[in-house]
């Protein structure tokens, strides 16, 4: 018994150490992958002598970013502002429409085909129309960000509400609950995990929308900066814009995830501990 437990103890210690190593690796891994990507990129550019106007090396991009940091920052803020404005509108409209579609078969049947058709339209084709309506300025970017990001929110909220267990609805209806009660007490809270999952998608595509509009109607923002830079063959600056956009996307995604974990921990409790340990 004593001998067995000593061996078991050693085995347990070894497993715990392995788990700790794995957790450390999990924390470091995203950084290692990013560093490795830039490293390989740098080496490849130097080794194959790739011209800067085809693919600038990371150090070229860094120089461009440092040199043009002021417009880069200004335009990033403009893009961020348009994106968040469009995204905010998408949250409000997406929640309202999602609740309507999820709770009423009639609304679902009536609106869904139109919504799908609308979502299939490339948003870049809509931008000229928006410019005719709203003029060149921030509005085309805001509205494109809105149009592109509200569909995933609608679909997810509607799914969350439409999949409430029929038995649970029966329980509440047999108590004299009004449809509104069922949506407020059960449908909406139930849809929250779906809602936050959609926010993570929506916030990243909102950037795509804003930048598309800024590129088509170059007035301000990262999209315009990249258009101007590419017209001057300043490819390093184009890449600096792309990387800045990626960074903003990661930050917003990360914020959405933190809010999700705080508010709907009940839905991910199985992986929550794992996530907490991993991150």
């Amino acid at each position: 018994m004593a001998q067995m437990s000593a061996r078991a103890q050693a085995r347990y210690n070894a497993m715990a150490a392995a788990a700790r190593r794995r957790r450390r690796l999990q924390t470091l891994l995203p950084w290692l992958v990013i560093i490795a990507m830039f490293g390989i990129w740098e080496i490849a550019c130097v080794a194959f002598d790739i011209p800067v106007f085809i693919l600038p090396a990371p150090h070229n991009i860094w120089h461009a970013a440092v040199r043009w940091w002021q417009p880069l920052l200004q335009d990033s803020l403009v893009t961020l502002y348009s994106t968040l404005a469009g995204f905010g509108m998408a949250i409000v409209a997406g929640l309202l429409l999602g609740v309507a579609i999820g709770s009423s078969t009639l609304v679902y049947k009536g609106l869904y085909p139109l919504l799908i058709a609308f979502n299939s339209i490339p948003k870049v084709a809509v931008v000229p129309v928006l410019i005719i309506w709203f003029g060149i300025g921030m509005w085309p970017a805001v509205i494109t960000a809105f149009l592109i990001s509200f569909f995933p929110i609608v679909v997810n909220v509607a799914t969350g509400i439409a999949t409430v267990e029929p038995e649970l609805k029966d329980v509440l209806r047999a108590l004299g609950a009004r449809p509104r009660d069922i949506i407020l007490k059960v449908g909406l809270p139930r849809a929250m995990p779906y809602f936050f999952a959609s926010l993570k998608i929506a916030v990243t595509v909102a950037f795509v929308g804003a930048i598309i509009a800024e590129s088509v109607a170059p007035n301000a923002g990262i999209g315009r900066l990249m258009m101007v830079a590419s017209s001057r063959f300043d490819v390093p600056l184009v890449f600096a814009g792309l990387i800045t956009t990626g960074l903003m996307g990661i930050v917003l995604y990360w914020i959405a995830e933190i809010i999700e974990r705080r508010t709907t921990g009940w839905a991910t409790r199985g992986t929550d501990q794992h996530l907490a340990a991993g991150g």
């Binding site: 267990e165 038995e167 649970l168 029966d170 329980v171 509440l172 209806r173 047999a174 108590l175 004299g176 609950a177 009004r178 009660d181 069922i182 007490k185 059960v186 809270p189 139930r190 929250m192 709907t264 009940w266 839905a267 409790r269």
Partner: protein, 267 residues
């Protein structure tokens, strides 16, 4: 003679239009006030349909359903229901889950905020009655299946329903937990005396719990036999090994067998 609490008279229920499935036909039964009735039958015989008709969730295709002297023409507001799945809300703690009906039932919703203390005490009392004392701050996922079903039972009882409708509430549980919950349910019924309609396919469960057992035929369902249960209360696990208990189960089993063979002939 007093009128039965629930009267079902020659009810038929057909799903999906004229050519749809006939779930019930010529189904009649009465349940007295405070009586515990079990409905047993082969699977797919329309037991759950009967539940929805009595609670007014669906209208009958033919016939009348009368509850508490009034014809049922819309969802009742006096019923408590529990199903095979506990259907608890995962984002609410046990106490909040139990109190959900109070937030929506018309006769309680306005009083809830003023008398929250009284209602919470009532919820805790119920949790104690089903053996969940001290679990009111847990989330459903922290409970075992049996404990979740106990919580579901409390939710069905919190508003003191005059009519308790149970649709195979214990069929997803293991045998030992199920037998525990029979005793719990019997205890609740003897304390509060609601009118109970229990739908089940477990004959031992029906005989353990009910005052009267109704046997349904296979689809289209109707009542083909009725047995009054003479066993004294409170019944215990020991009761289930007595010859009287076994004889009643055996007797009912014969009707189920007949109903099932009928199913093979008609289909």
């Amino acid at each position: 003679m007093t009128r039965p609490f629930v009267e079902i008279d020659q009810v038929a229920m057909r799903y999906g239009g004229v050519d749809g499935t006939l779930a019930l036909e010529g189904c009649s039964m009465n349940v007295g006030l405070g009586e515990f009735v079990a409905v047993v039958g082969p699977s797919g015989c329309g037991k759950s349909t009967l539940m929805r008709l009595v609670t007014g969730l669906w209208p009958a295709t033919e016939g009348n359903v009368v509850v508490a002297g009034a014809e049922v023409d819309g969802p009742l507001t006096i019923a408590g229901m529990a199903f095979q799945a506990p259907t608890l809300l995962p984002w609410r703690r046990v106490l909040a889950n139990v109190m959900l009906p109070l937030e929506v039932a018309p006769q309680h919703r306005d009083k809830l905020s003023r008398q929250r203390g009284m209602y919470e005490a009532r919820a805790r009392e119920l949790l104690r009655l089903v053996g969940l004392e001290g679990f009111d701050a847990k989330y459903p996922y922290q409970l075992s299946g049996g404990m979740q079903q106990r919580t579901s039972l409390c939710r069905a009882l919190i508003h003191d329903p005059a009519l308790l409708m149970l649709d195979e509430p214990f069929s997803a549980l293991d045998v030992f937990t199920r037998e525990d919950l029979w005793a719990v349910l019997q205890n609740v019924w003897m304390t509060k005396k609601p009118t109970v309609i229990l739908v089940t396919h477990d004959l031992r469960e029906a005989v353990f719990l009910a005052d009267r057992i109704l046997v349904m035929s296979s689809r289209p369902g109707r009542i083909i036999a009725e047995r009054v249960n003479p066993l004294p209360r409170p019944r215990t696990l020991e009761t289930t090994y007595t010859p009287e208990f076994q004889a009643l189960v055996h007797d009912l089993r014969g009707y189920i067998a007949a109903a099932r063979s009928g199913e093979e002939v008609t289909i």
